[in-house]
């Protein structure tokens, strides 16, 4: 009998707080770290019991959403080991039986499913509302139908090719035109007889550059 009473007395404190012991937390709970000042700077709000209440409510919402069991309540979320860091451990008990704890895997899956909603409730991100052990969901890379670089490349290449073709065509036209002119002037020369100065027609000099032709004649004559 005495043994029974002693056992009850020693077991009572253990039974009274089994949830926040290290073994229970490690097996069933998750550590949460909240960095409000890092995330919000000047607009940081203070972490108090009301915020904690909101946290428990959002986790209960996550459990409801994941298990589609509408009996989860704020009281089913147990919070332990609160520190000034703002970090704490939380456990989820089953709504049917408060002594039974929800396995870690289920809690993780529930949190992952509603991670975005939980973050938004606190205006935080995956990094500032940190569930230690639950990896943040990675944003999928933005995929484009046509890579943007190809578009820019296409534009520049098109402009350059158009430029090359334009310049080549204009050079070609100029050359055929000057060849035609040369043929005409050669015919004239044959008909009139050539008066050349330094291997060039005086007429063709004047034709090409009326401004400069005459002074050069004077220079040439010095020789």
């Amino acid at each position: 009998m005495w043994v029974w009473i002693v056992c009850l007395l020693t077991a009572a404190p253990a039974l009274a707080e089994p949830l926040c012991s290290k073994e229970v937390c490690d097996n069933y709970g998750y550590k949460v770290r909240i960095s409000i000042k890092t995330a919000l700077g000047d607009k940081a709000y203070e972490w108090n019991e009301s915020e904690m209440f909101l946290f428990r409510a959002t986790v209960a919402f996550a459990m409801r959403r994941y298990t589609s069991d509408e009996t989860y309540n704020v009281s089913d979320i147990v919070v332990c080991n609160k520190t000034a860091r703002v970090s704490f451990w939380f456990l989820v008990t089953s709504p049917a039986n408060t002594a039974q704890l929800v396995p870690r895997g289920q809690v993780e899956a529930a949190v992952r499913l509603s991670r975005n909603r939980i973050n938004s409730a606190f205006l935080l991100t995956d990094q500032t509302l940190q569930f230690v052990g639950i990896l943040p969901t990675l944003a999928p890379p933005i995929s484009y139908d046509t890579p943007p670089w190809l578009i820019v490349f296409g534009v520049v290449m098109g402009v350059v090719c158009a430029g090359i073709i334009t310049l080549l065509l204009s050079t070609l036209l100029k050359r055929t035109r000057s060849k035609k002119n040369l043929l005409e002037t050669e015919e004239e020369e044959d008909r009139r007889g050539s008066i050349t100065a330094n291997g060039r027609l005086c007429e063709s000099l004047r034709e090409k550059d009326p401004g400069r032709g005459h002074p050069d004649d004077v220079h040439l004559s010095k020789l």
């Binding site: 890092t38 000034a84 860091r85 820019v152 090359i164 310049l167 080549l168 002074p215």
Partner: protein, 625 residues
């Protein structure tokens, strides 16, 4: 075909400004932005300017003046000029042309990389700011996580580099496209020779200065910029005793001014004969060095900003680790009281502190991570740009600036190849100039496809080190001795007097006849000695290396080393070969081959002709129609 026709239609510059901008654009290139600041940093900041300026005054400016003067007076490209002086020296021109061609190959590949980054700067977020996810979408790609995102983007996404030079990999199609575009842009600027080049340089030579100024203003407002500048310019006078510094200063000024490529000779040959080339040389040389200095200011301000950002991130991560481990309230530990907290916690819980593996955060160590070359532009700078607000704008500006710097240098390279070929009438007259230019561009593009393979970057480094170094020094040495010994200082001074109106001063005489050839010889010998002592090896990007992301240094395989030696030797082999060829011809056909007969019908070689007429610029422009 009338005898004067070859010189009647010699192209000419529209105005002096075009000529100066083209020369400045050729001299000012990528090296001014990414090599000079690096040298300044590793060689004791402000103290490096002393050997640099001495090398400029005694080696750079005399050689520059010589090239511009000889080109302007003999009015030919590099082969023609040396042929005119003596047929035995024709090999010097051929060597210049070969080096210009080889350098042009890899230089335009760098421009292709710049274009690739430019195209990818039009995205939000910038692609090199984040790591891609792996196939399972569970985590980031491992190679990226171990290195950094910018490193991964450069080595894997852009280059797709192989672990060593022996494995060639395949052609990377995106680089092939960029290379095709780079050569197309060069072609369109060169399509009508200097007519189009002269117009293009109005933009390509001036735009970099605009961007550098914008960057200067932006960079000076960044946090940590002043630290970077202090670090750069604080002189360490002890460095002047190190001979390696003097060697690097001399080689830097030499390559920076783009001497011995033949491009400067070609540009000067389109000038009217009466043009003050002494002033041009001084102007181009001083602008080039001033640009190097000016560019190093924003570069180092930005590097200082990056080092400060890295330092702050390091401290922040350490603070976070401490805060999380000891559950201290947020923001109680800051960067300021971090040391105090660390000391307190270390005395009370040393084992827990040790288990945290806190990083060593030392600002000086971050600053010391100096990089030059492609690493500076494509890794360090791109990382810095991500941290700046409106990153896309800065990235686009930066890459356009690099592209125009490089493009104006490419003009000189291509000119050094085309002008000698045109002058020697090696191009049949039925082939139009545009077609021949296009053929050369196409051939260069096809050969440069080696640099678009997986191992392309390794080959580019080989070309950069072996082609763009010793051959140029040898060619320059022969250039200066040819003019002094074969052409004669007396004749050269008279030419210069005709062109500029006064004979070159005593300083120039001393430099050309003594100081510069001696300096060149010393630099050449020292360079070769240093290279020979160092076992040729190269850094590789090998993800399976144990110490990855550090570069694994591997020695060159024998066949690669043979290619390196060939790359240094083959461009200079024409110098003795051509001399030998002419010697043999003279010995076997003495009656046909008189000693003084110039190889090219250059009427201006006849001294009597030079002294009797005083041509005016109007007459020359009429002649070139």
């Amino acid at each position: 075909h009338r005898p004067e026709a070859g010189h009647e239609d010699r192209p000419k510059w529209d105005n002096k400004v075009q000529y100066l901008l083209t020369c400045v654009g050729f001299a000012v290139g990528l090296g001014n932005v990414w090599r000079f600041p690096y040298l300044c940093q590793i060689y004791g900041g402000g103290a490096f300017l002393i050997p640099y300026l001495i090398a400029l005054v005694f080696e750079g400016l005399p050689l520059l003046y010589l090239e511009l003067a000889i080109g302007q007076s003999l009015r030919q490209g590099s082969i023609g000029v040396w042929n005119s002086i003596s047929p035995y020296l024709g090999g010097v021109g051929v060597a210049s042309m070969a080096v210009s061609f080889l350098v042009g190959l890899f230089y335009n590949t760098i421009l292709a990389w710049v274009l690739w980054y430019f195209f990818n700067s039009f995205q939000d977020p910038l692609p090199w700011s984040q790591c891609p996810l792996n196939e399972n979408l569970t985590d980031y790609v491992e190679e990226c996580v171990r290195g950094t995102a910018a490193n991964y983007y450069w080595y894997r996404v852009t280059l797709n580099i192989t672990p060593d030079i022996s494995s060639s990999g395949s052609l990377q199609w995106w680089l092939v496209l960029s290379l095709a575009l780079a050569w197309s842009i060069v072609y369109i600027c060169f399509i009508r020779g200097i007519e189009t080049v002269g117009k293009a340089v109005y933009v390509t030579a001036t735009f970099p200065y605009l961007v550098l100024t914008i960057f200067l203003v932006r960079a000076l407002t960044l946090p940590g910029a002043i630290d970077g500048l202090e670090y750069l310019f604080t002189p360490d006078w002890g460095v002047l005793l190190n001979p390696q510094v003097w060697l690097d200063a001399a080689t830097q000024i030499f390559f920076s001014l783009s001497l011995a490529f033949g491009g400067l000779i070609a540009f000067a040959s389109y000038n009217p004969r009466k043009n003050n080339c002494e002033r041009d040389a001084l102007l181009v040389g001083c602008i080039n060095s001033a640009t190097s200095l000016y560019a190093s200011i924003p570069i180092f301000a930005i590097l200082g900003f990056k080092a400060t950002t890295n330092f702050n991130n390091c401290i922040t991560s350490n603070v976070l680790k401490l805060t999380n481990e000891f559950d201290i309230a947020e923001k109680n530990i800051t960067a300021d009281n971090y040391d105090m907290w660390l000391k307190t916690l270390n005395t009370s819980h040393p084992d827990r502190i040790n288990s945290l593996e806190l990083r060593e955060c030392n600002l000086k160590r971050f600053m010391d991570q100096s990089v030059s070359g492609t690493g500076l532009a494509f890794i360090v700078f791109t990382e810095a740009v991500i941290e700046m607000p409106a990153s896309q704008v800065w990235a686009v500006l930066f890459f356009i600036m690099l592209f125009s710097l490089g493009l104006s240098s490419m003009f000189g390279n291509l000119e050094g190849v085309l002008t000698p070929l045109f002058d020697l009438h090696m191009v049949p007259s039925w082939v139009p100039k545009e077609l021949f230019t296009g053929i050369i561009c196409m051939v260069s593009f096809l050969v440069a496809l080696i640099f678009t393979m997986g191992s392309g970057n390794y080959w580019l480094e080989i070309f950069n080190s072996y082609v763009g170094s010793v051959p140029l020094l040898i060619i320059a040495f022969f250039e200066i001795t040819s003019v002094v010994v074969f052409y004669g200082m007396k004749r050269f001074s008279e030419d210069i007097e005709f062109m500029t109106g006064h004979r070159p001063g005593l300083f120039w005489h001393l430099c050309w006849m003594g100081v510069s050839p001696l300096m060149l010889l010393v630099v050449l010998v020292a360079y070769v000695v240093v290279q020979v002592q160092v076992q040729p090896q190269y850094p590789t990007w090998n993800p399976s290396y144990t110490l990855f992301p550090e570069a694994e240094v591997k020695p060159y395989p024998d066949w690669v080393f043979a290619i390196c030696v060939m790359l240094s030797a083959v461009p200079v082999v024409p110098i003795p070969l051509v001399a030998l060829y002419h010697l043999i011809r003279r010995l076997t056909h003495p009656e046909q081959h008189t000693r003084d007969e110039p190889h090219v019908s250059n009427p201006y070689d006849n001294k009597a002709f030079m002294f009797n007429i005083q041509p005016t610029s109007a007459q020359w422009s009429q002649r070139s129609e």
